[in-house]
């Protein structure tokens, strides 16, 4: 049976382990999930661990900026910025094991980067070269999902399979505040609770679903919905990378120990537009962005790391250098990505050959040959023409 908890952080302030000025506050429930990053585990290089999280956040932000720049220069068709959400994405990603499986939305580019995606695979779909990038079974991460909330059901089904296999893998699905209004997200919580599936619902409440503020989606804090389904939930500061790391670790532990699903609402902010096609100045106040800049996830973590002597100018410079190098490599890979062959559009529709499709492909190939070879060049090879 489910043993859901109505925990702190449902109303009022979300759970915070790092305040915006970079001060680490002890937390009775979560400190045990941060023993390594707090330096309480022998043999763990605390500084290296913290710097790896810090660098991922810095590089992810730079990748995001590069994506926007590439779109502005016509190299990408579209880009969905995640600037401002680095703590939620990198913090949770660092909690997830290599054998765990992730079902993301389309905005989890920071998660994919931290999970080790090849750089061209971060932009392939946004350039229009394919509908997806990375190999899902190499990354243990599904292709990005564009239909809002649809992936949460896939995550629960995968987790049901894990359960039936008797495995210890856990599953994490990412979605936004807008998605919580979708039937699929609600159905996924019904299924997850009924089957006690080992799944973590990680909701990045970034306050905006394109132009709609979260108040249109939910009249109560989103985390409060989950207990109604019988799912433990928590509301955390999504700009606090340590809170994101700790809460995800806790939820994964619950999943792996057979105690079913969890729901995390990470309260964060979409500092950029919904996508590069969006113009937030039409619907939101510039002051709001200024307020959230005060809570910047990277500045906060950096202040904390400086206060404990893990980050200094040399570390900052190294992170910035790495970010620039990754961005340059991403740019190179994007600009030199070859276009797909026209005939390839008929591939992978079915697992095997399909006669109607083969006929269309053949006609298309003849048509192209005819156009390229000049009028009449295709006629001798066109069956209909011979009648």
């Amino acid at each position: 049976m489910s043993t859901y908890q109505m925990t702190a952080g449902h109303g009022g302030s979300p759970i915070q382990l790092l305040s915006p000025d970079g001060v680490r506050h002890p937390h009775e429930r979560y400190d045990r999930f941060l023993a390594d990053v707090d330096g309480n585990v022998e043999g763990v290089d605390r500084a290296a661990l913290l710097v790896s999280i810090y660098e991922d956040m810095v590089v992810a932000r730079r990748v995001d900026a590069e994506g926007t720049a590439l779109q502005r220069q016509g190299q990408l068709g579209l880009w969905p910025p995640f600037v401002g959400q680095e703590a939620a994405q990198i913090g949770s990603a660092h909690a997830i094991g290599a054998d765990d499986f992730i079902f993301p939305s389309y905005r989890e580019i920071g998660v994919a980067y931290a999970r080790g995606a090849e750089l061209p695979d971060l932009v392939r779909q946004w350039r229009g070269n394919a509908h997806s990038g990375w190999d899902p079974f190499v990354m243990n991460m599904a292709p990005s999902q564009v239909v809002i909330g649809a992936q949460t059901l896939h995550a629960v089904g995968y987790a049901m399979g894990v359960l039936f296999d008797g495995a210890e893998t856990a599953v994490v699905t990412y979605f936004g505040d807008g998605a919580t209004s979708q039937g699929d997200v609600n159905e996924s919580m019904v299924f997850a609770a009924s089957f006690q599936a080992p799944v973590v619902f990680f909701c990045q409440n970034n306050q905006w679903a394109i132009s709609e503020p979260v108040g249109i989606q939910a009249h109560v804090p989103i985390a409060r919905r989950a207990p109604g389904f019988g799912i433990s939930s928590v509301r955390i500061d999504g700009n606090d990378v340590l809170a994101c790391l700790a809460a995800t670790r806790e939820a994964l532990e619950r999943a792996r120990s057979g105690n079913g699903p969890s729901f995390i609402e990470a309260v964060t902010y979409r500092m950029g537009p919904h996508t590069t096609a969006d113009d937030p100045t039409r619907y939101r106040d510039a002051n709001e962005l200024e307020d959230w800049k005060e809570k910047d996830p990277i500045a906060r973590f950096e202040a904390y790391l400086a206060s404990i002597g893990v980050v200094d100018d040399a570390v900052r410079a190294r992170a910035a250098e790495k970010a620039d190098a990754v961005a340059a490599a991403l740019r190179e890979a994007t600009i030199h990505m070859p276009d797909p062959e026209p005939e390839s559009l008929f591939e992978h529709v079915y697992a095997g050959p399909q006669p109607v499709l083969e006929r269309q492909r053949d006609h298309f190939a003849r048509y192209r040959h005819g156009i390229e070879g000049g009028l009449g060049a295709g006629a001798e090879t066109t069956a209909e023409g011979g009648r």
């Binding site: 997806s132 239909v147 059901l153 089904g157 039937g183 159905e187 299924f191 697992a351 095997g352 109607v356």
Partner: protein
């Protein structure tokens, strides 16, 4: 060979598939202890356990979406949609996910789902229980769509559909569930007479008219061929079996011989299977046609209340009237502009 009902043949085919592959799981509403509202899964949960015959919450999109997740994990889910009219809540997951994941992932993700849908009318049901939604799925690239018409095909094609690496929407004519027929239980994945999942079957050979039907109307088409022969008309009745892809090789060979084509289905006419087959056969066999293709279908109305459903459904006489039209014989439209 043994005689069994259509429903029992499906049950036997499902059992065979579950024995063959431990990754085959059944998912749906009321399919466990109850055995489904039509008893197609009768006894399977008792024999295979609740993890392989899964009673799900009442949420069709949820069933479809979680089945996709199980496919990611290596399972082969077989979904029972309780009635045709209840598939629409799952439509988004079918069209945007099931059908597209293989293409989206460049062939890396297989989605070998079998989506079983009892379809068609004629059983006196209330609204939403008698629909023929096959054209929506045929129009969706990435899906295979089949309609079974007899116990032998039910037994074999369900096994073929489950073994197929593509998603298959599997239409079962609910008014034929209690029909009995001989079933060769040695015909498993090879199919009866070696027919694969994509093949049409010639039911009666003929030389005057090609008559194409599927699902519940395959039997009606065969009956129409018999009735027509009494009047000296030689009808080649074809059970389409696979609605996507369509076995045009079999249809073309027949129409090149007969020069006339009649297509019958319960679904409404506009943009239905009849339209697609008529257009494709006209493109492929134009110089062989003696008459424009004729469609005999349900009307373009929402599925009617049961007191009127038999006026809506094509029956033997309406199909024979269509044959007469294709033959240029006196028929219900004679003397009208359309009949000329």
């Amino acid at each position: 060979m043994s005689e069994m009902t259509f429903a029992k043949a499906l049950n036997a085919g499902l059992r065979k598939s579950m024995e063959r592959d431990s990754k085959v799981v059944l998912m749906g509403e009321d399919i466990g202890k109850l055995g489904g509202v039509f008893r197609i899964t009768d006894g399977l949960q008792k024999d295979f356990g609740a993890h392989r015959v899964i009673d799900t919450p009442l949420a069709e999109s949820g069933i479809m979406g979680t089945a996709i997740g199980m496919a990611y994990r290596g399972y082969r889910p077989v979904i029972e949609i309780q009635f045709d009219g209840f598939v629409y809540p799952a439509f988004d997951q079918i069209v945007s996910q099931v059908a597209k994941l293989h293409f989206r992932s460049l062939g890396r993700i297989k989605v070998p789902l079998t989506i079983r849908i009892p379809f068609g009318g004629g059983i006196g049901s209330p609204e939403h229980h008698s629909e023929s939604p096959e054209a929506y799925f045929v129009h969706t690239a990435g899906l295979r769509v089949v309609a079974v018409s007899n116990p032998q095909d039910a037994y074999s094609m369900i096994q073929q559909a489950i073994a197929c690496d593509d998603p298959v929407v599997f239409f079962e004519p609910k008014r034929r569930y209690h029909d009995k027929g001989e079933v060769d239980e040695t015909a498993g994945l090879e199919g009866p007479g070696g027919l694969d999942l994509g093949a049409a079957r010639v039911l009666t050979e003929g030389t005057d008219v090609t008559l194409v039907g599927y699902g519940p109307l395959a039997k009606t088409c065969a009956d129409a061929a018999t009735a027509a022969s009494d009047e000296g008309i030689s009808v080649e009745a074809i059970d389409l079996r696979s609605l996507s892809p369509i076995d045009y090789a079999t249809l073309e060979a027949s129409v090149r011989k007969t020069g006339r084509l009649v297509i019958a289905h319960e679904a409404s006419q506009t943009a239905g299977l009849g339209a697609e087959i008529a257009a494709s056969i006209t493109e492929r066999c134009f110089y062989f046609l003696e008459h424009a293709p004729v469609r005999v279908t349900g009307f373009d109305v929402p599925y009617p209340h049961s007191k009127l459903e038999f006026f809506h459904l094509p029956d033997l006489d309406r199909i024979l009237d269509g044959v007469d039209r294709a033959m240029g014989r006196p028929n219900s439209l004679s003397g009208t502009e359309e009949g000329e």
